[in-house]
């Protein structure tokens, strides 16, 4: 049996373990949260190195993208560097493929993403493929990177402006401790009520809310039937979204035993299946494997 472990800076309350069979191979997939404790994450990564088939880094992005530029988060690189033998991934390679495909799938097979629909992406630099696909299909997208990651009430309306601002700020911002830019640990279990009041209207003005689940959750006000496109949701998260008034949940990663895993986990599984070094895997190979696995977005009506 192959073992894939996701080591996350997120809350340990979301830990879980499942066994699945994919393309004839048995996998044990587990997630271990370190409650925002960076040193604990480092120690766990060192402990797992060489003892499992692939490691995913959760609760942190190692690579952010805007246009053709890639920005490496220093805290993420430190975590990656702790693993010497086992392939270690952050999900960014798969995101670029899988989440584009999710957008195309929703356009082709559902009425959830009609042309001109208003979409709020709570953060785009961590899933630039999805941002580009939404833009390409003529959605009216608001990129909330500044609003929700830096507390600056400035909605970015175009991919061009997103790239321009990213080029100015990301080369330096990625050097800051990651917890200054993204909710880690216990912050993932609560909402920021002040910002919900202040920025909730961006959610209410949209029909589709897309992006990282922890950001989506942290600032979510009461909704009126909006569609949520995200992943890493648990059964409790589904209840939360239903209570908030979301109309539909789309998860980009498949559900295993009630849980949609993070892209870092799925990328770890794919690396273990492909038997190739992570850096050598092309988007085409991910795409081909996604087809062989018959991975499709999960669409869950909530109303």
């Amino acid at each position: 049996m192959k073992r894939v472990v996701s080591v996350s800076l997120g809350s340990s309350r979301r830990d879980h373990r499942v066994e699945v069979e994919l393309l004839g191979e048995k996998f044990e997939i587990s997630r271990r949260g370190t409650d925002g404790d960076f040193d604990k994450a480092l120690a766990l990564l060192k402990e797992l190195d060489g003892r499992v088939d692939a490691i995913g880094l959760g609760g942190i992005d190692v690579f952010l993208y805007a246009g053709k530029k890639r920005y490496a988060v220093e805290d993420g690189l430190k975590l990656m560097a702790a693993v010497k033998k086992t392939p270690v991934v952050d999900g960014s390679g798969l995101k670029n493929t899988l989440e584009r495909e999710t957008v195309y799938y929703l356009r082709e097979h559902t009425d959830l993403l009609p042309p001109g629909v208003k979409v709020l992406m709570v953060s785009a630099v961590d899933r630039f493929g999805m941002a580009e696909a939404l833009n390409e299909l003529g959605c009216e997208v608001t990129f909330g990177d500044l609003i929700f990651s830096a507390g600056i009430p400035y909605p970015i309306r175009t991919i061009g402006e997103l790239e321009e601002i990213a080029a100015r700020i990301l080369p330096e911002m990625v050097k800051l401790p990651f917890h200054m830019l993204y909710p880690t640990g216990k912050k993932q279990d609560s909402q920021d009520e002040e910002k919900v009041q202040k920025y909730g209207h961006y959610y209410q003005e949209a029909r589709v809310i897309a992006g990282d689940y922890h950001l989506v959750r942290r600032y979510m006000p009461g909704l009126t039937g909006q569609t949520i496109v995200t992943n890493t949701t648990t059964a409790a998260d589904v209840d939360f979204l239903r209570e908030k008034g979301a109309g539909c949940l789309v998860t980009t990663t498949p559900e295993f035993q009630g849980r949609s895993f993070g892209t870092n986990v799925m990328e770890g599984v794919m690396v273990a299946l492909l038997h190739k070094p992570w850096a050598e895997i092309t988007p085409g190979e991910y795409l081909d494997l996604l087809k062989r696995l018959n991975f499709k977005p999960r669409i869950l009506p909530l109303a």
């Binding site: 830096a150 600056i152 009430p153 080029a167 700020i169 050097k175």
Partner: protein
Amino acid sequence: MASHAEITASLRAFQSGYSKNKRLKIMNRDWDRVVLVKAEDIESEHTLILKDGELSLMEGNNGRADLIVAADSETLADMFYGDITPTEPYMNGTLKITGSEDDIVRLDFISLMIWGE
């Protein structure tokens, strides 16, 4: 070591860069803050006041700071002239910023929007 006058000049350059940036003013409309800039190796204090998106500068300390930015005079002058970014001195402890994490990120952001690539 930079002089008080050099720090003043660097802060004026920073203020000028800010004032020319209409988008930055829009971004900061909601962020009214008083920032004390204090040199640790010479007698030098300045106060930056952000109100309704506009940035003003005064010499001295008005005693109402939400954020305190403290470093040696050379680092302050280099930073406000845009020769160095605040991130590196902040991370290595040369630059100390006292305030909420959200405010520290915001100040870093303003500096990068003025002087970033």
